[in-house]
Every structure is written in structure tokens, then in C-alpha cells.
């Protein structure tokens, strides 16, 4: 076997690849929440930032494909890992005590599946219309028929439906649970467990709670205010 397949087919190699893709997604999420938060502060700034992200070739043709790859990899590898881990215990215990580990750490599959379902909704909501407008209809102007910037309007419009807001809230609560275990866990996987670990856990836990909370705030804010 080649060095590459040898390394990344081993249990530790697969975990390291999972952790690396996760860290990339964590950075992306921070960027995403920052841009979205602009919609609360200033519709104009949000429009500007969205237009930049939506039309900059570097973002569109370099970062976006890498992002999609990381997302797909993280899901596929996660499911594969879960499948082989389940196969490692073919006969289950009649009695199982779950007290020796947190709920989050034992149920990454549940939170992951909810996030996957959310991503489908999210893609239908924003990504598919974006791609259709820009690359199928060829309208790169970022303007509505009336000549205003369209991004803020589109965002606000989506959050008028209470069911969608509820779906967002549920998904982001699960994302928080996923991150509470996953983010700090990726450091352990990368071999970092030392005197900085307590601080790392504080920072990653803060991230895991604050970032989803801001997403939830934005959804509810637009639902209430428009």
C-alpha cells in the first residue's frame, strides 16, 4: 500500500483526517456567523459582504469547492467511522451504563444527522437559489428587479416562516452539542493534551455555545423584527 492510503486508512489516520476537516469547518463557521451578524447591525454592510463573498472568484472557485469537499468528507468519513465502530461490537450488552462518558461524546451520530438534515434545508433555502441566479440565469449583479441589493431581503424573507425558525433553533442546539465534544476532541486527536488543555477546553466550549447561539439570535431577531 502507498504511504498515503496506508496512513489514512488506519484508525488513527482516519481520525486525524476527521479532525483536520472539522477544524477547517470550525473556521468557516466563524466567518459565516460574522457575515450573518452584519445583518443585525447594518443591512448595507451585510449586502456588501454577501456580494463580495458571492462574486469574488477566489471565494467562489477556490474556497467554496474546498469547503464542499471538507463538508462531504466530514460526513462520509463520520458515517464510515460509525459503521466500523459499530461492527467492532457485534453482540451488545444486556445492561449498559452510560455514565462513564458525556451524552455528546456518545451521540455524535445523532447530532451529525440532525445537522445533515439542516444542511439539506439550508442548501435548498440559500445555496440552490444563489447558484441558479448567478450561474444558470447569469445574473451576477446582486440586485433585485427594483435595483436594490437583494441579499438582505432574501435573508429576512426566509425567516418569516416560524417553522423554519424552529428548525434552525433545533439544528443549532444540536450543532452546539456536536461542537462541545468535537472541537476539543480534535485537539486530543491531533496529539495535543498538555498543560494548555484546560484552557483549550474553555475556549472550544465557549465557541461551541456562543457561535450557535448567535445563529439562533439572528434567526429569531429577523423573525420578530419584520
Amino acid at each position: 500500500m502507498s504511504w498515503f492510503s496506508d496512513t489514512f486508512s488506519s484508525s488513527i489516520g482516519r481520525k486525524i483526517a476527521m479532525a483536520l476537516s472539522a477544524l477547517f469547518l470550525v473556521i468557516f463557521l466563524l466567518l459565516h456567523v460574522a457575515v450573518n451578524f452584519l445583518s443585525v447591525i447594518s443591512p448595507d454592510a451585510f449586502n456588501e459582504a454577501s456580494h463580495f463573498m458571492g462574486t469574488n472568484p477566489l471565494v467562489q472557485f477556490l474556497m467554496q469547492p474546498i469547503l464542499i469537499l471538507a463538508v462531504v468528507y466530514h460526513f462520509v468519513a463520520g458515517f464510515a467511522l460509525e459503521a466500523s465502530n459499530r461492527a467492532a461490537r457485534p453482540v451488545k450488552y444486556a445492561m449498559k451504563s452510560n455514565k462513564n462518558a458525556s451524552w455528546m461524546s456518545q451521540n455524535m451520530m445523532i447530532s451529525g444527522l440532525v445537522i445533515l438534515a439542516f444542511l439539506v434545508l439550508h442548501f435548498m433555502d440559500f445555496w440552490v437559489p444563489e447558484i441558479t441566479t448567478k450561474y444558470i440565469e447569469g445574473d451576477m449583479s446582486g440586485l433585485t428587479v427594483a435595483g436594490d441589493m437583494r441579499y438582505y431581503e432574501e435573508l429576512v424573507h426566509r425567516f418569516q416562516n416560524p417553522m423554519r425558525v424552529v428548525a434552525y433553533v433545533v439544528a443549532f442546539v444540536l450543532l452546539a452539542l456536536h461542537l462541545l465534544h468535537g472541537f476539543q476532541s480534535s485537539f486530543q486527536t491531533m496529539g495535543v493534551n498538555n498543560k494548555f488543555t484546560p484552557s483549550i477546553k474553555k475556549i472550544t466550549n465557549a465557541y461551541a455555545i456562543v457561535v450557535p447561539l448567535v445563529f439562533i439570535f439572528i434567526a429569531i431577531y429577523h423573525f420578530i423584527n419584520h
Partner: protein, 246 residues
């Protein structure tokens, strides 16, 4: 005290096996868990029934032979003790106690509560040793200066008794805590340096080949390990593996 025991009975590796109920009266709180099973077996033999097969040897917490998943926890409800050192005072009169073998694909049941843990031996054979030529003038290990901190960490890792409770506790049946302890005890000492990279690679490869799951950092192993082997060892194993591959 009186106990209801629910014990996994399986004639041999081919048998499907099932949980069987037993009533046991007059259990003394001073008995060890294995002594309680001895009493049960005595009664079963008296009635002409097949006694429950379980693993044990030293009965003083050092050999790692005893196992048993007791009420869903490897080595039972107490922490930092093996089954042989667990006492019946940890249970109450009228309790129902589930007793099952350690479950993992890599630990097939041989009979009743006995599982085959030779997968651990094969992992050890893949690299859990140092090669020393015993030519007669081998340097005295005590003559090599070793930083106290590293010596302590290596010694802590070396207290792993290879019982397999980490595998039994893990939802993924992962053997990472065991392998990390065995890799760490050498990686931290000068004597372990020569085979350091090969050791990490080969032991991990053998661990995967045996069909253990992959670690997802739940920490259940550390919580259940009778010797308190720390998760920092798994982080070290990850570093050793990465270091060997890069």
C-alpha cells in the same frame, strides 16, 4: 444479603448464549465478587449443574486476568479496582446484578464469561517490547539517567495490566487506551527509542487488524480503567503515530 444474578451462559464459541437468572442467598458483604461467584458455582455443582466459567488468577489486582461486565460497567461499580478486588459491600440486599463477558468482536467468547483476549498478546508481539542483546555486558538500566518526570509517566503507563476493561467500556470497542499505555511506557524511556517509530506503526496496524474500533475520545476507558491509565497516553500515541508516518 440476597441477590438476583443475571448471568451470560454460553456453552462454547459456537453457542448462541443467553442470560440466565440465579438466586443467591446468604451473600456476605465481606466476600469479593469472585468469591460470591465461587459460592454460586459450589451450589451449581452440588445440584449437578455446569458451573459458571469465569477468568481469574492472582485475585489481587495485578495480573489482569479477571474481567466481567457488572451492571453495565467493566470491573463493576467501584472505580480503580479490578473485579477480583471488588467487594460485595458495594451491593445492597435485594439487588439484581447483571454479569456479562467483555464484549468486542476482537474478544470472542470462549465459554460463559471467559473471552479470548489474545488479540492483546498479538498487539504486544507487534512491538510492545525492546530488543536487547544479552551478550553478558549489557548496560545496567539503572545507570542511564532519566528525567524523573518522564520516568514517572512511563511507570504510570506501565501499570496497565492488559485486562481489556478499556475495550469493554468503549462504545466503539476501541483498544486505544491499552495500546497507548504500551507505546507510552517505551516512548518515554531511552531504551525505547531505537524501535520507537516501528513500534507505534506496527502496534496500531495490529490493533486495526484485530477488529477493534477507533477512538472517538469519549473518555469512557479512562473512567473505567482499574489502573487509572490517562487519556494523555492516547494523545501521545496519536503523536507517535503521526511522527512515525511523517
Amino acid at each position: 444479603m440476597k441477590l438476583t444474578l443475571k448471568i451470560w451462559r454460553q456453552k462454547n464459541s459456537e453457542d448462541k448464549g443467553k442470560m440466565v437468572d440465579y438466586q443467591l442467598d446468604d451473600v456476605s458483604p465481606d466476600m469479593s465478587f469472585l468469591e460470591m461467584l465461587d459460592v454460586l458455582n459450589d451450589q451449581l455443582v452440588g445440584k449437578g449443574e455446569e458451573p459458571v466459567a469465569f477468568d481469574h488468577d492472582c485475585r489481587e489486582g495485578i495480573c489482569g486476568t479477571c474481567s466481567l461486565q457488572i451492571n453495565g460497567k467493566p470491573h463493576g461499580p467501584d472505580s480503580l479496582v479490578t473485579t477480583c478486588q471488588l467487594h460485595m459491600r458495594k451491593f445492597n440486599d435485594g439487588d439484581t446484578v447483571y454479569i456479562e463477558p467483555f464484549r468486542a468482536k476482537a474478544f470472542p467468547v470462549v465459554k460463559d464469561l471467559i473471552v479470548d483476549r489474545s488479540a492483546f498478546d498479538r498487539i504486544q508481539h507487534a512491538g510492545g517490547y525492546i530488543s536487547v542483546n544479552t551478550s553478558g555486558n549489557t548496560q545496567d538500566a539503572n545507570a542511564i539517567p532519566i528525567n524523573k518526570d518522564d520516568a514517572d509517566k512511563a511507570f504510570d503507563a506501565a501499570t496497565c495490566i492488559g485486562c481489556g476493561a478499556c475495550v469493554a467500556a468503549c462504545k466503539n470497542a476501541s483498544a486505544m487506551l491499552f495500546v497507548s499505555a504500551k507505546v507510552s511506557q517505551f516512548a518515554l524511556l531511552p531504551q525505547g527509542q531505537v524501535e520507537r517509530e516501528r513500534r507505534a506503526e506496527n502496534m496500531v496496524a495490529q490493533m486495526d487488524a484485530e477488529g477493534f474500533g477507533a477512538c472517538t475520545n469519549t473518555g469512557a476507558c479512562e473512567a473505567e480503567c482499574p489502573k487509572g491509565i490517562s487519556l494523555t497516553n492516547i494523545a501521545r500515541l496519536n503523536r507517535e503515530f503521526l511522527g512515525a508516518k511523517l
